[in-house]
Symmetry: C2
Subunit: 331 residues, 2 copies
């Protein structure tokens, strides 16, 4: 099946409750690569425990998945009809206060790290803080080290000034793996025109999100509305800078979104993008429930006028180019 | 000897290379209480290791020292001719990202915590950052929890705005355990008139520092110059808000000050208050080399005109009052 497809299918952000069922759906959907979050608030040792759990998945399901380390692993996934899993961190908590843990995490397969989640981190500011002072002293060193070893700076959950400074300080293009334009849907997690211009003009990538809180009309967002937004975004910033980062959190209990939002830092409950009345995970749009549905986007993109080459780029070709350039030392 | 002294002698910040020699000097100097730093960059488990080391000191030298937990332990130290050791953290790294570790640290004897060291922390900003956004979301929760359990907020190494916000947010008086007025010596670590006014008008305490980088003329600062500064500070902010926090780092190798400044966050060397040409610990003023010399300050304070009651307050009576009010739940 996969051999007939000229371009890869890449989802640059998921945090499913990983299982053989989810891996089978990746294959049913022809998904060649997934950037899988392996830490939200975990420290280094806890992150290693999550890697151990992934190693068991890889050992048990070699017919479905394998660890992705470089762009060429996406091409291997296309040849072999499997899915390459790339590790990423949504918070710098796994590197704790230790610059040396960046290279160690890279050795363990980590290829993306957000400089902050919703709160202030040791490196940068998250999008839920009232103030954003930009990149810290440690943050500047961390960016240089990530640039050196080939770990992508991901600013999906970071605040505006920190994001602009990360783009400027980094000597390599960065990514916003899962967010949409703020102009389409005014969520705190979506990104301003200023950020998207700076991101894409520096060679960076935007992964468009299918998480209902990031969508116009939320869970009721239509495929047509989403794809019209993709077309508008492509015309503003360039099709070649756009990919998918679905933020799919399939099969997770609501306790997981509470953990994402509150970690261990809060004695009160923080509802993040939700509310007390709607505290759990939002319902997925009916046209995207799991990996098997991801290919549906191709039709929607064709319907808003993208040519086949552009569809291929948005669905994975652009991420393939970015992964190939980003995951090792500078050439 | 101690029974003859009506007021206690308290040093509200030291980080010596703790040894029977240092403990004996505490006794020779008639020092009744020392706030001892037990963590700079350590995480929770590493801090516990430092507490274990202190437990061994307490077990081996019960004739010299014992663990201090409340203000009444200072009075016990005066009665028994021993020194009460109070634990403090110069960075919130021991609580990691976990609000629950504040109470656990308090259970283990910690009575002071700086919300930040020189860099940005998860709670507040350090004095070496270029920008200071004030207290973070986690920081606000941490202050409330510290207020609840009776752990003193110490802003000695924090930046200006974070310090002013901590004073405002905290429902209990806070401390700057080791710093001097910026107007006397313009070091980044010394404190502005604005901060000292807000600190003292809210019932907080300032521990005056004897660390050469905080002193006018550095290692050559005279006892007379230091005590004239104390008199000026007392006249501006009130004698009752002033104590001593010597920042004595006796018998430490220079590798320790490198660790303090660089932790694990930097691949380049940061010299903090020093410089490449003077990277190590500075030489102590000749009139304050160790705990046995601390009593010398009494003479200097009398010579600049303080009455006996004021000298007693500055040398420890003010800290006794503050410790008594601060180390448990709100009365």
């Amino acid at each position: 099946m996969d051999a007939k497809i000229a371009s890869p299918l890449v989802d640059c952000l998921q945090y499913a409750n990983w299982s053989p069922n989810v891996f089978s759906q990746m294959r049913a959907g022809g998904v060649h690569a997934v950037h899988a979050t392996i830490a939200y608030h975990e420290n280094f040792r806890e992150t290693v425990a999550n890697i151990i759990a992934w190693n068991r998945h890889f050992e048990r399901h070699p017919d479905l998945i394998f660890p992705g380390r470089s762009g060429s692993d996406i091409e291997r996934a296309m040849r072999e009809g499997r899915t390459a899993i790339f590790f990423g961190l949504q918070n710098p908590s796994p590197i704790e206060d230790d610059i040396g843990l960046i290279e160690v995490c890279h050795m363990l397969g980590v290829r993306f790290m957000q400089l902050s989640y919703n709160n202030q981190s040791l490196l940068a500011t998250g999008c839920y803080e009232g103030e954003d002072p930009g990149i810290t002293r440690f943050g500047r060193q961390a960016i240089a080290e990530m640039n050196r070893v080939g770990m992508v700076i991901d600013m999906s959950h970071s605040a505006e000034r920190s994001t602009l400074e990360a783009i400027e300080i980094s000597t390599r293009p960065i990514a916003i793996t899962h967010a949409n334009p703020y102009g389409w849907h005014a969520a705190l997690r979506n990104k301003s025109d200023t950020v998207l211009k700076a991101l894409t003009q520096s060679g960076g990538m935007l992964g468009l999100s299918l998480y209902p809180h990031h969508l116009r009309d939320g869970s009721n967002c239509t495929l047509e509305s989403f794809c019209a937004m993709v077309a508008e975004t492509a015309s503003r910033y360039g099709t070649e800078h756009i990919g998918i980062g679905s933020d799919l959190c399939q099969d997770q209990p609501d306790s997981v979104v509470t953990w994402m939002r509150n970690g261990r830092w809060s004695k009160a409950l923080d509802y993040g993008e939700g509310s007390a009345a709607a505290a759990g995970f939002p319902r997925q749009p009916q046209w995207f429930n799991n990996n098997a549905d991801l290919g549906n986007l191709r039709h929607g993109l064709r319907d808003v006028g993208f040519c086949e080459e552009e569809v291929g780029g948005i669905m994975g070709g652009n991420w393939l180019r970015f992964y190939t350039a980003s995951f090792g030392p500078m050439p």
